[in-house]
């Protein structure tokens, strides 16, 4: 797991954001001076690496996905955000600054025998 806080990366990520509303929220957080947290995640049949990661509450989050073998999905229902993760490119998903708690996510593009096991968890710490 790698977490970095690079403002320039966040601006670039916002430009490529999958969910406009969340991008707006992310910009608002940036405008308030919060540093984004970047988490790199590899998606591969039938797992995410890391499967579980921790971030801090109150700061925006950028998830950088690299899919290696399939157009996996990323769906975090509790934040109402999803994205397709095509292989061969980095897919950035912007999440707003969040309250402490656990947020489950899953692959929602059927990817084969083991698809049902492809899920993960983001833990937001106070």
């Amino acid at each position: 797991m790698m977490i970095t806080t690079r403002r320039t990366l966040m601006w670039r990520a916002l430009g490529l954001g999958a969910v406009p509303l969340l991008a707006v929220l992310g910009r608002r957080a940036l405008a308030q001076g919060a540093e984004p947290q970047v988490v790199k995640v590899v998606a591969k049949r039938f797992d995410y690496t890391p499967r579980e990661f921790r971030v801090k509450a109150g700061r925006p989050i950028v998830l950088e996905f690299t899919s290696v073998d399939f157009v996996h999905g990323f769906n975090m229902p509790d934040m109402n955000v999803r994205a397709d993760l095509p292989p061969g490119k980095v897919t950035r998903v912007n999440l707003p600054a969040s309250k402490a708690g656990t947020y489950d996510f899953l692959c929602d593009n059927f990817c084969g025998d083991g698809h049902e096991e492809m899920h993960g968890r983001m833990i937001v710490e106070a």
Binding site: V71, G73, N75, P77, D78, D84, D104, L106, D108, N109, F110, C111, G112, D113, H115, E116, E117, H119
Partner: protein, 293 residues
């Protein structure tokens, strides 16, 4: 929703806003309907092997023997998806479909309707399924009831898609508004448990299309258990599987199969008989185990 337990585990489901007017219309000389019944089997996952069902090679055959032994044979039979268990190998996928088709050919009732689940169709967008079973979405009529088969699995992202939604809308538009309509599909059309992928990504659009019709009922599979839910006046009934049961919706962190219990083989597995009373759009559901009790 009207729900009244009857003897032998049968229940009536209705809850249709149009019931009263439908009764009045029938009594006033509207269309007369014959009652009939059909059987729904689901999620047979032919080709699966593993601890959740050590008898997987026999479960389907046993269920077919039980259907064949029903005192009164149904007028037709539907399989609501996941006929086969998924495989990456296109040749193996076709072998499983061929074997499945040979096994279900033993059904006494020859009018059988198939639809795919994601295990059958999502890895090749329904190509192998179409070779063996035909179209993945279609409609048919039976004794006044209009059946619509909706494919929400050929797209690996669980979308029905704009083209099929337009077809569905046009198909329904040909029917009188108060026609009895039954939707057969694999995944739930509503968001049952999105974090378990128990949903259809554009299912809300399908429900919006169905909503103007007062006599709609949905039968589906995917979740490997009996479940009943209402979206407005539309009832949704999921069926048990014939491979392994899954936990109650959202009852635990993950949707792992319930373990096989050697003291109660086939626990949680089975099929159902649906007795349709089209004039009042009521469906009496009778659940059966894999083998005759």
């Amino acid at each position: 929703m009207k729900l009244a337990a009857l003897g032998g585990g049968a229940v009536y489901f209705a809850g249709l806003a149009g019931c009263a007017s439908a009764d009045a219309k029938t009594m006033a000389g509207g269309p007369a309907y014959d009652d009939f019944y059909f059987v729904q089997l689901s999620d047979t996952h032919w080709g699966f092997s593993g601890a959740p069902n050590p008898d997987a090679k026999n479960t389907l055959r046993k269920a077919i023997a039980t259907v064949n032994a029903l005192e009164k044979q149904p007028e037709f039979i539907v399989f609501t998806g996941d006929l086969t268990h998924t495989t990456d190998d296109p040749g193996e996928r076709r072998r499983r479909m061929k074997e499945f088709k040979e096994i279900v050919a033993d059904l006494k009732v020859k009018q059988v309707r198939f639809m795919p689940g994601e295990h059958d169709a999502s890895l090749d967008r329904g190509a192998a399924f179409k070779e063996f079973f035909g179209d993945t979405n279609y409609s048919f009529d039976h004794k006044g009831v209009h059946f619509i088969v909706v494919d929400n699995v050929s797209d690996p992202g669980a979308r029905i898609g704009d083209e099929q939604l337009a077809w569905m809308k046009a198909d329904l538009a040909k029917r009188p508004k108060d026609s009895p309509i039954v939707v057969l599909t694999h995944r739930p059309l509503f968001d049952l448990v999105p974090k378990w992928d128990w949903a259809t990504r554009d299912g809300a659009q399908a429900i919006d299309i169905l909503m103007p019709y007062p006599k709609v009922t949905v039968f589906y599979g995917h979740i490997h258990q009996e479940h009943h839910h209402m979206t407005g006046h539309i009832a949704h009934h999921s069926a048990k599987s014939l491979i392994f049961p899954l936990p109650a919706p959202g009852s635990q962190p993950n949707r792992t199969p319930l373990p096989w219990d050697p003291s109660q083989p086939n626990r949680g597995l089975g099929f159902r008989e649906v007795e349709a009373e089209p004039d009042v759009a009521q469906y009496k559901i009778q659940e059966y185990g894999v083998t005759k009790a």
